[in-house]
């Protein structure tokens, strides 16, 4: 029954996700516009020592899209709490951990689904411009790494959604998390650049930021411009584990007042 219950919870969240299909299509288009307009323009502006910024940014935008889509589950759960739809969810004849785990997984799967068109674009762009075509195993490894980011992000957003009592607090916390995670990361700029212009603490955060690990891991397979360090997959696993557990705890303990 546990697997069935989790699948039903996921089904519900995925259905709601696809109800916004036109909005999602618009968002993917905007991400692609970011890549094909902004990144192309910046390529001409940034220091050539960084290399081809368009190619550098391409895996980064995939991470951005994945993060935004996986984070959406938190906004929905926060809305459910405000409208007391959470009472209905909590009253269902399924175990609380199944409910919580189903929601974390659903958030993660939503992130992956949303990210796929962008990953395909990145694969095409890197193949055409850099001549690198990753193997099936490498693509699978990238997807696995991104799935771990997606689980962690979904868990993080659920933890915030459940722990904040008002919509204002939720939106503010979400904004701070977005800002810190993207500002101190290698999603938009390389670590060397951060080390050269920002305080050492920022560089340290950026290095171990799971979004950096995901982006750099993807770059190492797609651009072959850097080697994979052991801490990267470990970092992603720890991120996924910590925030999935936090979401489970929050959903099971905080929701039932």
């Amino acid at each position: 029954m546990a697997v069935k219950a989790i699948l039903y919870i996921m089904e519900r969240d995925l259905r709601y996700f696809f109800r916004y299909k036109w909005w999602l299509a618009g968002m993917v288009s905007m991400n692609l516009a970011d890549l094909f307009i902004m990144a192309v323009v910046y390529t001409r502006m940034v220091d050539p020592k960084i290399g081809n910024y368009f190619l550098f940014f391409s895996p980064g935008i995939t991470i951005t899209a994945l993060f935004a889509a996986a984070f959406m589950i938190g906004r929905e759960i926060n809305r459910e709490i405000r409208r007391e739809i959470s009472h209905y969810m909590l009253s269902l004849p399924i175990k609380r951990w199944e409910l919580a785990f189903g929601r974390v997984l659903a958030g993660a799967v939503r992130g992956i689904i949303y990210m796929i068109p962008l990953l395909l674009t990145t694969l095409a762009v890197t193949a055409l411009l850099a001549g690198n075509v990753p193997s099936a195993l490498e693509i699978l490894t990238i997807i696995l790494a991104l799935f771990l980011i997606s689980i962690g992000t979904s868990g993080l957003s659920i933890t915030i959604a459940v722990s904040t009592t008002s919509f204002e607090k939720y939106v503010t916390t979400r904004g701070v998390v977005y800002y810190v995670l993207f500002f101190c990361s290698t999603v938009f700029y390389p670590l060397k650049f951060i080390e050269s212009v920002m305080p050492q603490a920022f560089a340290l955060i950026a290095k171990y930021n799971p979004l950096s690990c995901g982006a750099d891991l993807a770059r190492s397979f797609l651009l072959r411009n850097q080697s994979i360090e052991l801490f990267m997959p470990l970092d992603l696993m720890v991120f996924a584990l910590i925030f999935a557990s936090a979401a489970l705890f929050a959903y099971m303990k905080i929701m039932q007042k």
């Binding site: 029954m1 219950a5 039903y8 089904e11 519900r12 259905r15 709601y16 109800r19 916004y20 459910e80 409208r83 007391e84 739809i85 009472h87 209905y88 909590l90 009253s91 269902l92 004849p93 399924i94 175990k95 609380r96 039932q256 007042k257």
Partner: protein
């Protein structure tokens, strides 16, 4: 003697300084419809939410079947289904999707699910709207979806919070009949309402709560009979009545008070009016006083509430 399927023991819920439910003790028998009657803010919904394990009691507990809601909430929920006061649906959904998903989660097999969904949607009058998004629906239509969830689930214990608010009179009767047939099929129904008539016609027993406390619990008839002089018989006579006649009527068994509003017009306050009325008519016939008209009125549950609290439900809601 039917055994209790829900046992509420000293159940208490506090929100900060506010005590929403205050040491509530109540037993609900298997197969009955128990109406939880009280004004808004009496603690009805909070009680129901604790029984469905949505809220955690501050003190005390409740047993749903054999399961303690504080110790085995997962097991307790397998016996319970709840229709909420405010419809708990996301506006992007359709009635079919909402009910189909609910049925799946409640473990209704796929071969049975479609049949049951069709029957319920037809019963609540939403079959033609089954594929429409609920954001186009009126409050009453959304409420019907909430009740439909319970009808699809057919749980051992159905908890229904104000099932007919925002529903028109025809719809009310339809839903009452559905609740009765749910009971006839074996469910125990716990129904929270602030509508006196609903509690009266639907409940086998009514538990009146006020400010989180149980005031009284019994069947509606006994509750009404428990008010001394609650029944009223108004008699208009063909000629004026003497003081001696009045005293004779006053001395009759179960008569509490007699008021002569006009010389030929009596207002008799009594209990069990239906048993005393033949005695009264016989008395006036024997006295050769013709009876022009007789009007009999029973106390309502509002009178019962007023008897125990000194307030009508309307007044209690305002305070």
């Amino acid at each position: 003697m039917p055994k209790p399927i829900i046992r509420i023991v000293n159940l208490t819920k506090k929100f900060g300084n506010l005590t929403a439910v205050d040491h509530l003790n109540l037993e609900i028998e298997e197969g009955e419809i128990l109406g939880l009657l009280g004004p808004n803010g009496a603690g009805k919904t909070t009680t129901l939410l604790m029984l469905t394990t949505v809220l955690r009691p501050t003190e005390g507990t409740a047993f749903v079947g054999p399961y303690d809601v504080t110790q085995e909430p997962d097991k307790a929920r397998t016996l319970v289904g709840m229709a909420f006061q405010d419809p708990k649906v996301l506006w992007v959904s359709t009635p079919w999707d909402i009910l189909n998903w609910h049925a799946k989660v409640c473990g209704i097999p796929s071969n049975e699910r479609e049949k049951r969904l069709r029957w319920v949607l037809e019963e609540v009058g939403l079959w033609n709207e089954r594929r429409k998004s609920v954001h186009t629906f009126s409050g009453g239509m959304r409420k019907r979806i909430e009740v439909a969830k319970i009808l699809v689930q057919r749980p051992k214990i159905a908890i229904i919070d104000e099932p007919t608010t925002q529903i028109d009179i025809v719809g009310k009767h339809r839903i009452w009949n559905m609740i009765r047939s749910l009971r006839d099929e074996g469910s125990t129904i716990l129904l929270a309402t602030n509508e006196l008539y609903e509690a009266d016609v639907l409940s086998d027993r009514v538990a009146i709560i006020h400010r989180g406390k149980l005031l009284v619990c019994d069947n509606p008839k006994k509750l009404k009979d428990s008010i001394p002089g609650g029944d009223v018989i108004e008699v208009v006579l063909g000629k004026d009545v003497s003081k001696k006649c009045l005293e004779e009527v006053e001395r009759m068994n179960r008569v509490v008070d007699v008021l002569s509003t006009k010389p030929n017009h009596l207002k008799i306050y009594l209990n069990k009016a239906e048993e005393v009325l033949p005695q009264i008519t016989e008395f006036f016939l024997k006295m050769r006083i013709p009876i022009k008209s007789v009007q009999m009125s029973e106390p309502t549950l509002d009178d019962v509430f007023a008897h125990y609290t000194g307030l009508t439900i309307e007044e209690a809601e305002k305070r």
